[in-house]
């Protein structure tokens, strides 16, 4: 109440709308005091200056689709919504560049660029409504990462407000630029803990001329052989996903899969796609795949879209993200699938095997303290197993009781001291709820 009043007194509603937080604003069990929506970067800077002075904790939010990622906050005073910072700054098709306010959505950007057959190749869950700021801050991606990389490959510049309320620019709007230190790269994946991103400049790509998707079905051993062959082949798939039976049921309900379903697509010219698909199907069959089909375009599009949104559709209680070396994907998928089968009644597994990212979702609710203790142990043992493979396990979604019991990011890395120094340099008074990211 007090915080909201203070902010309301400091700004006109046009500058910065201030509303009391409600139950809908609870994040990991923490009820913020108020929600503010600044209209410009200047106002953002004033809000942050005030917050630093009054020792308020400020969490920046976009469309709030991925706030389950991160440790629980100990305390949040202000939710800073970027909804009003959603203007397009520039889009120059011939330069393949665009800049926009942090609150602009990927859908908003796509509506501008797709008529020119260009796009930002980031396809996180909730894509249409995902804000640029949220996508960049949480370093979100989807299956396109297989061939297009991640946000850091596309962010060429940014503006942001530091923890002391100063506004800073880094990079520029041109596709190639080495002037100065790349602060904007640090903002990618920083979960808002280094500043409030206000504007983002991006490099775009031409859209694939066409896409052709192959669906195949393999057992554990076949998956390993196939991925290996694919890695050594000259084929350049645009996206590849491996799904266990439960995930496959959600993505392709009409398809009865045995073992793992593997979706792979090519995004070159139509002739090249046909040729590569043919080679891939031959490779699948040689690896012992039971079915390989070319999916009709419409079915393929639906499948890829469902795959992107699979996590929310499962209404998962718990989602783990596992990172491993790509060559370890197949054996890790097998290992995780077996482990999870022994501890949960249902689990879905979706992997991007060529980049070494595997998501596991379990529906099971965490009802008692013993559930929490049990899952803490399961996660600890998975982390140990993955450490042996130089991999890591991130708890992306979990009931708050479990998130309080385990560090969602895993154990501290060797460079934690540097990260802390950087966080302290950009947010010395801890305005940006640092405990969500670096504990």
């Amino acid at each position: 109440m007090k915080t909201g009043g203070l902010l309301r007194r400091s700004f006109s509603p046009e500058e910065c709308a201030v509303t009391e937080a409600t139950g809908a604003d609870v994040i990991d069990g923490v009820l913020p005091s108020c929600v503010v929506a600044p209209s410009t970067e200047v106002v953002v800077a004033e809000v942050i200056r005030l917050a630093a002075r009054e020792k308020l904790a400020v969490l920046t939010v976009g469309n709030r689709q991925h706030l389950h990622i991160g440790n629980p906050a100990t305390h949040i005073d202000v939710l800073l919504s970027t909804a009003r910072l959603n203007h397009m700054v520039h889009y120059e098709a011939a330069d393949l560049t665009a800049s926009a306010g942090t609150g602009a959505t990927l859908g908003q950007l796509a509506a501008l660029t797709i008529p020119h057959r260009q796009f930002l190749p980031l396809d996180p869950p909730g894509q249409e409504a995902a804000t640029l700021g949220g996508t960049i801050s949480a370093n979100l991606f989807g299956s396109l990462r297989t061939s297009y990389g991640t946000a850091r490959d596309y962010v060429v510049g940014a503006r942001f407000v530091r923890g002391d309320g100063t506004a800073v620019k880094s990079g520029g709007r041109v596709v190639k630029n080495v002037a100065g230190f790349d602060l904007h790269k640090l903002l990618v994946g920083a979960h808002g803990t280094l500043g409030v991103v206000t504007e983002i400049s991006l490099k775009l790509r031409p859209m694939p001329e066409s896409e052709l998707t192959v669906l195949t079905c393999v057992d554990q051993d076949g998956l390993r052989r196939m991925l290996r062959e694919l890695n050594y082949s000259p084929l350049l798939p645009m996206r590849v996903a491996a799904l266990n039976r439960e995930a496959a049921r959600a993505v392709l309900p009409e398809f009865a899969s045995r073992g793992y379903a593997l979706l792979a697509s090519f995004g070159d010219t139509a002739a090249s796609n046909r040729l590569q698909s043919k080679k891939l199907r031959a490779l699948c069959e040689a690896s012992g795949a039971s079915v390989t089909d070319l999916l009709p375009d419409e079915i393929a599009t639906t499948a890829w879209n469902r795959l992107r949104e699979i996590d929310p559709s499962l209404d998962a209680g718990l989602t783990l993200r596992v990172n491993v070396l790509p060559s370890k994907s197949a054996e890790t998928i097998g290992l995780l699938n077996d482990r999870l089968a022994s501890v949960a009644s249902h689990h879905s597994l979706v992997a991007m095997p060529l980049v070494g990212v595997i998501w596991l979702s379990v529906r099971q609710a965490m009802q008692s303290e013993s559930d929490v203790a049990r899952w803490s142990r399961i996660i600890a043992s998975l982390r140990e197993a993955m450490r042996a493979q130089s991999g890591s396990v991130i708890l992306e979604r979990a009931p708050v009781a479990l998130k309080r019991a385990v560090n969602v990011w895993g154990e501290a890395v060797d460079t934690a001291f540097l990260m802390k120094r950087i966080r302290m340099a950009f947010d010395p008074s801890g305005v940006f709820v640092p405990e969500r990211f670096l504990k």
Partner: protein, 510 residues
């Protein structure tokens, strides 16, 4: 060549005087002994004739002799050297091949140069994951050659790739002709092992699997050797393209060539490389050992390279040919085989060397503009040259809008040198006003520190300085680079010294 400064001065200069006076950075016997204890006597160089090699990098207008050069064999030795120097408060920097073009590898505050050339091994090539692990002193082209037999490539290919090192590439976030499609060094580095200025050996980045925490690597790559000394690098390799088609198109005007560039991009085709050379550059190349049969009567030529699967490449090649013809291309030539392709690229990459034949000195500049501004800006750059009675030649990565205006001149001619300074400054201003940047790949180094305030505010620069302090709190690692001195208050020991450095040198905006 003017007479060298008197023997009292600790360094020699060309006619661009670097007026550092009253500073003694000579190392004490104790420091030399401690360095010797780390690397052995043979690997500590202190004689002036040995140090001369390290006086400057590829940007010869900035010169300063280091007090010593140390040649380590391992990361542990690098860490040992750094600990000694940190303890004694001696500035230091790492140097790869010294091919940099912004004065980044010059010991402008004296101190010690750590020569990385001997740490040049390929430690591992993981073909399945397409990752190479290399020491930082490895020459860029050696990696490419090493992985070619297994049909892999390391994409970033700066023109200096025959000499430049991977560590230098990481420091400068180097580009090259093929970064239009494949991106710059940043996009190909998965992890680095580096010695921080306090002597701590750390690993940043994923080394194959995603890392957790801030993207330190993203900040580190391109920090121009001021955040740490790279000792080991994990690099992404790509599958060698199935087919490469290289073509050459001559145009009767730079405007036509620029329009061809835009029309290719607008058609949704992303060539592997899209390079432009103007007539002056072409003529210089054709008169040199790099002669590649470029049409000398064309006002500008484009080198267009497409790669991918044969069926797609052929389809795109047909479309590109139609597009460039509709923009007025003539002298269309397709590389007939791999040898012909190499010849074309030797011509392009030899352009700087060839330009050097025309006059005693060459100012190689680097700036970026939005690609769409090419037709407007290129004639203006030529005009600026004419205004100062200078020969400006352009060779550049047209697809990225990354310009390299080159000015031939004679450093011994003080008046001409002064005009070069002014022209460079005006060209840079033109690019900045067009929404561009002051460097696309050569870095800021010493050369462009004073342009930084054209594109960044005091608060932007302060934020960058704060980040640098996180990695380099003492400021001893590669001082006097990237950020204009007024924002580097922490480099107190050097503040007086550095304030005087760029004042009378090449690129001072008025």
């Amino acid at each position: 060549m003017p007479a060298l400064l008197s023997g009292a001065a600790p360094f020699t200069v060309h006619s661009f005087r670097i007026t550092i006076t009253g500073v003694t950075t000579h190392l004490s016997r104790k420091v030399i002994e401690e360095l010797t204890a780390v690397v052995g006597e043979r690997d500590v160089l202190v004689e002036d004739d040995e140090l001369m090699v390290y006086e400057c990098d590829g940007m010869v207008t900035y010169r300063h002799l280091p007090d010593a050069v140390v040649v380590p064999d391992s990361a542990e030795e690098v860490a040992g050297i750094v600990r000694v120097l940190g303890r004694e408060g001696v500035p230091f920097l790492a140097r790869g091949a010294g091919t940099g073009l912004s004065g980044g590898a010059v010991a402008c505050a004296g101190g010690v140069v750590i020569e990385m050339a001997r740490m040049n091994r390929v430690l591992d090539v993981d073909a399945e994951n397409r990752i190479a692990v290399v020491e930082s002193g490895l020459v860029n082209l050696k990696l490419t050659n090493e992985v070619a037999p297994i049909s892999l490539v390391y994409a970033p290919d700066p023109s200096s790739q025959m000499a430049c090192t991977i560590g230098g590439n990481v420091a400068e976030n180097s580009g090259g002709p093929h970064c239009l499609k494949y991106g710059v060094t940043m996009n190909h580095v998965l992890g680095v092992e580096a010695v921080l200025p306090d002597g701590e050996l750390v690993r940043m980045g994923g080394c194959g699997a995603d890392a957790v925490g801030y993207d330190l690597l993203g900040a580190f790559v391109g920090s121009e050797g001021t955040f740490g000394i790279v000792t080991k690098v994990w690099l992404r390799l790509l599958k060698a393209p199935d087919t490469i088609r290289t073509m050459l198109a001559g145009f009767t005007s730079i405007g036509d060539a620029s329009r061809a560039v835009s029309s290719i991009i607008a058609a949704g085709i992303l060539p592997a490389a899209l390079e432009m050379m103007d007539q002056r550059t072409v003529q210089a190349v054709e008169a040199s050992v790099f002669a590649a049969g470029f049409p000398q009567d064309a006002a500008a030529i484009l080198i267009i390279e497409l790669d991918g699967f044969a069926v797609a490449v052929e389809e795109h090649a047909t479309r590109v040919i139609d597009l460039v013809k509709s923009c007025g291309a003539r002298n269309l030539r397709l590389a007939k085989d791999a040898a012909d392709r190499v010849r074309i690229w030797m011509g392009r990459k030899g352009a700087f060397g060839a330009m050097g034949r025309i006059s005693p000195d060459l100012m190689v500049q680097d700036a970026v503009i939005p690609r769409t501004m090419l037709p407007d800006l290129l004639p203006k750059i030529v005009e600026i040259g004419e205004k100062y009675n200078l020969r400006v030649a352009n060779v550049f990565h047209a697809g990225d809008g990354n310009l390299h205006p080159n000015i031939s001149y004679d450093l011994r001619d003080a008046d001409e040198t002064q005009r070069v300074k002014k022209a460079c400054s005006e060209i840079m201003k033109l690019c900045v006003d067009a929404g561009g940047s002051i460097s696309g790949e050569h870095g800021i180094g010493m050369d462009k520190m004073n342009y930084m305030s054209w594109i960044f505010s005091e608060t932007d620069l302060a934020a960058m300085n704060d980040l640098r302090r996180c990695f380099n709190p003492s400021g001893l690692l590669n001082p006097g680079k990237v950020l204009p001195n007024r924002t580097c208050g922490y480099e107190k020991g050097f503040a007086k010294l550095l304030d005087t450095v760029p004042a009378e040198t090449a690129s001072v905006p008025r």
